[in-house]
């Protein structure tokens, strides 16, 4: 009997102490969440790609670089956040709408093309870059128009709009190899098993500019589609207007041009001039 009482007491004490610690933990994370989630605190959370060289990439030492990162940093600064106050978060293509909807991030700059379907779910600031679907080919190869692709072997990422464009419109006779990521395609391109890699030219330029591929690949420059990159914000958010102002300023003071040159320059990428805010090229 005595033993049971002692055990019960010990158990109660244990449970109490556990609850106490749990509460403490909860409180901490709560305050952190409100700080980053609402944007009203001293931190801002931005969704970016972490695996697209030139656009948004997390480097080995944990820093982020790329054109989207530069744009996001500039916009954040205009909104009143220093570079150190930014919390980066990976925004996978499929998760972007959900992340904004749930308020996981304040805005998303992750090679996010403005389309009608997406526009119904979220709001877009921008566009801040006009990209085109293009081909990355071996430096000694030549493909001058879309129809040349019929009968060739093409590589892209599973389910991507670029892959669908090829199948449906550009070259239905082309053989399409699809992988989970672009890096698998590069192996095939190097081994001459596939003839071209297709996606947005901005992304391709980033890959071609990588140290290990310099001089091996080039962009075909076909302009197969128009992709208007916008910054996604939650539907109805007042951030949209502020981000637009920031983007306009970035183009005006020359930081936009400088960043494009820095990130895409080495691949000989002929980029479009900065788009006007709200002007979407169909």
């Amino acid at each position: 009997m005595k033993l049971r009482k002692v055990t019960a007491a010990a158990a109660t004490a244990l449970v109490l102490s556990l609850t106490a610690t749990a509460c403490g933990g909860d409180g901490d994370s709560d305050s952190a969440d409100t700080g980053s989630g609402s944007g009203g605190g001293d931190k801002i959370t931005i969704g970016v790609k972490i695996d697209q060289p030139g656009i948004g990439q997390k480097t080995a030492d944990g820093t982020y670089e790329g054109f989207d990162i530069d744009v996001a940093t500039y916009v954040a600064k205009e909104l009143g956040y220093e570079a150190g106050d930014i919390e980066w978060k990976e925004a996978k293509s499929a998760d972007r709408e959900t992340m904004l909807d749930r308020g996981d991030v304040d805005f998303i700059a992750a090679s996010y093309s403005i389309t009608d379907e997406r526009d119904q779910k979220v709001d877009f600031a921008g566009p801040y870059l006009l990209a085109h679907q293009d081909l990355l080919i071996r430096a000694d190869d030549n493909i001058t128009k879309g129809e040349d692709l019929n009968g060739k072997k093409l590589c892209s990422v599973t389910g991507s709009t670029s892959a669908q464009n090829v199948k449906d419109e550009i070259a239905p006779q082309a053989q399409l190899q699809e992988y989970g990521g672009y890096s698998e395609c590069l192996t095939g391109l190097e081994n001459k098993v596939v003839d071209a890699l297709t996606t947005d030219d901005s992304i391709l330029a980033g890959y071609a500019a990588q140290e290990q591929f310099k001089g091996k690949f080039k962009l075909a420059g076909l302009k197969l589609s128009n992709e208007n990159y916008g910054i996604g914000v939650k539907e109805g958010s007042d951030l949209k207007a502020k981000i637009n102002t920031a983007l306009e300023k970035m183009v005006e003071d020359g930081s936009w041009e400088e960043s494009v040159k820095k990130n895409f320059g080495p691949a000989n990428y002929k980029y479009e001039p900065a788009p006007k805010i709200g002007q979407i090229v169909e």
């Binding site: 959900t98 989970g180 698998e184 095939g188 098993v193």
Partner: protein
């Protein structure tokens, strides 16, 4: 609410899933049984090979195996499995990878079935002059299979779901179409729910039917 489904060949995609499952199931049942036979065979070399195969292959993630069939076998070693166009090559490579992976689990299920057959039966069979192949084929395996229908049903259900990995090398099955739809429609939750429901439709009957069969044919000892 479901108008986003228009223009997509949902049934076609699930049909590819079914085809992948059926071909891989047949292949891995054959190869898995052979492996199990090796593991109980009197030849040390075959026993060693069987053990090594099962322990290596079942510990490699399926994604790695599938990607290897494409990047390693096809792109580097130019093995096309007798097909001409990329779609067929990828389909066959995916089946090959799924067979290689699943047969390790089939082997272990069958071997556990073999263990349920009393040793006396094999000894009696040998005593009347049957060879190893005859003992296994006529006496042991028929009883072993009857006791492992349940575990094999689990392997089959796992295989059905594992076919989604084939999307990694561009086989146009259900998971592939799901990625495409999510990219276009921005309806993550609804689309996932539709595909989850599709897989439940495929696997639930398998489980129920084979569960019933398993009860029906089990050897009562």
């Amino acid at each position: 609410m479901f108008d986003f489904l228009e223009g997509y060949d949902l049934l076609g995609a699930f049909w590819v899933t079914v085809q992948l499952t059926v071909y891989s199931a047949i292949g891995s049942l054959i190869w898995g049984t052979l492996l199990a036979a090796m593991r109980v065979s009197p030849v040390p070399l075959m026993r060693g090979f069987g053990t090594a195969y099962v322990n290596v292959v079942r510990n490699i993630p399926l994604t790695v195996i599938i990607i290897f069939t494409s990047l390693g076998l096809y792109q580097t070693l130019s093995i096309t499995l007798g097909a001409e166009d990329i779609t067929t090559i990828n389909f066959r490579l995916a089946v090959l990878g799924l067979i290689a992976y699943t047969s390790a689990f089939v082997c272990e299920a069958v071997r556990s079935g073999i263990n349920t057959v009393p040793v006396g039966q094999a000894e009696a069979a040998r005593a009347i002059g049957l060879s190893f192949t005859q003992v296994l084929g006529l006496i042991v395996l028929p009883q072993a299979f009857r006791s492992v229908v349940g575990p094999l049903a689990n392997v089959l259900i796992a295989l059905t779901k594992n076919t989604t990995v084939a999307a990694a090398i561009g086989v146009a099955e259900a998971a592939y179409l799901m990625k495409e739809m999510i990219e276009n429609e921005a309806e993550l939750l609804l689309i996932s729910a539709v595909f989850a429901f599709g897989f439940v439709c495929l696997t639930l009957p398998t489980g129920l039917i084979l569960g019933w069969v398993s009860k029906k044919v089990a050897v009562k000892r």
